[in-house]
Symmetry: C2
Subunit: 151 residues, 2 copies
């Protein structure tokens, strides 16, 4: 699978590894609400939810018109980019992660804007559902034909 | 992976497929509390938590001294057994699922004993963490060496 990863997915992998080191778990391509898809959603030991968008190039960033829609679905929001990315393009005041395919580092913490308890509860259940459904598809490829679960 | 599944794991696979048909997601070998390991934990669309123990034989059932400890960690509890299992051995009043490796059917619904909200919240977060950690190990086998994540 790794051979076919796109540049943004390689960044996401490094980000997920770093989050794991920080005691967070994460899922990729999380859908908090219809029409939105966050590259990486991290879940911390106290139920913290961090949204991270991975941008592999200037064009990748400039074509994203949805990122402000992610803010209301997480406690902190970050951009993840590689060393070559022109970080001056990124909006001030959002979190910044420098990443490659193998690891990442939080350069600037995203400001905290805590979710309301009801939304946090709904998001964590959605996170659990997302992760378990994809895990099942890995563990039991035969389930796809049964219920339309896919990766 | 499938070739090495044990009889109990084959039942768990069938149970997980049936749960998926019912709109539940599930994880296997879930640890609600230190020293306890539930074969399958299902999570429903409204946050329902169902614990299911898979018993492949009379001996497998009779060697289980921990099952009553699972009751306090789920809303409903079930046994999952195959067609050959002598179901008269099972305690009356617990749920019963007939399963094989490919599917399952709920024969008797486990009685409901709803979790307190704080425990449900903690369990759903633990479920999310369990599922996401194992999913990451499938998606990125390289993460194991980084943070000790394993399947």
């Amino acid at each position: 699978m790794q051979v076919s990863l796109q540049p943004g997915q390689l960044l996401a992998r490094g980000v997920a590894r770093h989050l794991a080191r920080c005691g967070f778990v994460s899922v990729e391509e999380f859908v908090p609400s219809r029409g939105l898809r966050v590259d990486v959603m991290g879940l911390g030991p106290k139920g913290e939810l961090w949204g991270i968008e991975c941008k592999s190039s200037r064009a990748d960033f400039q074509s994203d018109s949805k990122w402000q829609g992610y803010l209301e679905w997480c406690d902190r929001y970050f951009w993840a980019v590689d060393m070559a990315f022109p970080t001056e393009l990124l909006p001030e005041g959002s979190g910044l992660i420098l990443a490659d395919a193998y690891d990442a580092e939080i350069v600037r913490m995203g400001p905290e804007d805590r979710l309301a308890p009801a939304r946090r509860k709904a998001m964590i259940q959605k996170f659990a559902t997302h992760a378990a459904r994809r895990l099942q598809a890995f563990r039991d490829p035969g389930v796809a034909g049964v219920v339309g679960v896919s990766l």
